[in-house]
Assembly symmetry: C2
């Protein structure tokens, strides 16, 4: 038995997310099935992903671990998987990992990027990878709203209503906004993220950028520890899991 | 009656091309249907496009003309169309044109871009907009092959087999290759293009870049005036109509 570490890129548009759901095809399942010809068995090996990206969320640096019992070199495994996988899911790197390496349990931090487009007309090439917010005008106000969100905080206000997670304290290591004119990009690194946390942070900051909420109110939203205090959940299409740190 | 000039951007992946075909949905038809609520009539106005982009070919600057009998400002027409159009087709600009302006008959030149990706693994975000040619190594050789293709030439060797066009003389004004490492871009401007002409030129140049054909053979291909002398037709997904000049 050996453990492989895979880095995956995918366009999440046509999937119910990384993790298996009753209502459609999960990326995890497609990746597991792609191992079938390699393991020469009817039973696909379990593939563990670092982050459970939601339906419609993308990845350029999702990490997955798998334990398999075949001798092929990592590059051969990767080619075999990419032949079998649909073009919207790609294995970008494949490497040997210490036996028992687990992509989720051993992850120390994750980096996400959220892309906002603010041209009056959204170009078709971009439509699956950005949130179109033509009313987004005040990026400086968004920057002024970041400080209360960075560091070790209780992010209960930024967790989706139905979530059962009790310990809502997480550390955001970095939260930066880049303004490229027609595109505004948010980069967020942290040791862990609650369900919809990045998207609720983005939805709240976009309200600030559109003049619907004052930058100074964000500290009070964190204090409230109540989902109803924060802004809407930004759509999944703008979000990409960029990297996982171990 | 007045004439409007529209600039259109579209992702051609899910269409049979600009022009109506028996076997699927054409972009022209979708744009014409989008006028129905505006004209308040059961009969959509005819929309003429500058170029008949093939199935799977994209546009950032397709130009279309339409004669309509309604008084709305161009910006109102554009918003109404974009509300009705699917997100893979967008009207980017709308302006008044001289009565009788015709996007195809009055076009003087067109600019196309062809994108080649040569990283070992093609990222999913790019998959509908590039041709993945991981074996493309020698961009300098491709550049050396350009000279016989620029200027006023008989491009009979670069016209698809089934085409009925007799006059195969066209002028390529500009043909440039940019090498950005993982992506190689060809920009081609000309007064008109035969059926599949850009894609056959690209297919031929890619053979040169992959070491399958010597750069010095391209002059003889032009001389041959025979489709069989040239390389394969590059796939449509890498091609984008960038602009039309009037």
């Amino acid at each position: 038995m050996r453990t492989l570490k895979l880095t995956l890129a995918y366009d999440g548009t046509n999937y119910v997310g990384w993790q298996r759901q009753a209502n459609g095809t999960a990326i995890q399942q497609v990746v597991e099935d792609a191992f079938l010809p390699l393991v020469g068995d009817d039973c696909a090996p379990g593939v563990a992903g670092a982050g459970r990206t939601d339906a419609g969320v993308h990845a350029l640096g999702q990490v997955a671990s798998v334990n398999i019992d075949v001798d092929y070199a990592p590059s051969v495994v990767q080619r075999a998987l990419n032949i079998r996988l649909p073009p919207d899911i790609r294995v970008v790197t494949t490497e040997e990992a210490p036996l028992g390496f687990h992509a989720r349990f051993h992850a120390q931090a994750k980096s996400y990027r959220y892309r906002l487009a603010r041209a009056p007309v959204l170009l078709p090439f971009e439509r699956s990878f950005v949130w179109h917010v033509p009313g987004l005008r005040d990026v400086d106000a968004m920057r002024q709203a970041l400080a209360p969100l960075v560091g070790r905080r209780d992010f209960a206000s930024f967790q989706s209503g139905g979530s059962a997670t009790r310990d809502t304290v997480r550390t955001i290591e970095r939260l930066e906004i880049r303004d490229d004119g027609d595109e505004v990009t948010l980069d967020i690194d942290g040791d862990g993220f609650l369900r919809h946390m990045v998207r609720i942070i983005v939805g709240t900051l976009v309200e600030v950028g559109c003049g619907l909420r004052a930058a100074g109110t964000v500290a009070a939203i964190v204090e409230a520890r109540d989902r109803r205090a924060a802004g809407p959940t930004a759509p999944p299409c703008g979000l990409t899991l960029m990297a996982v740190r171990y």
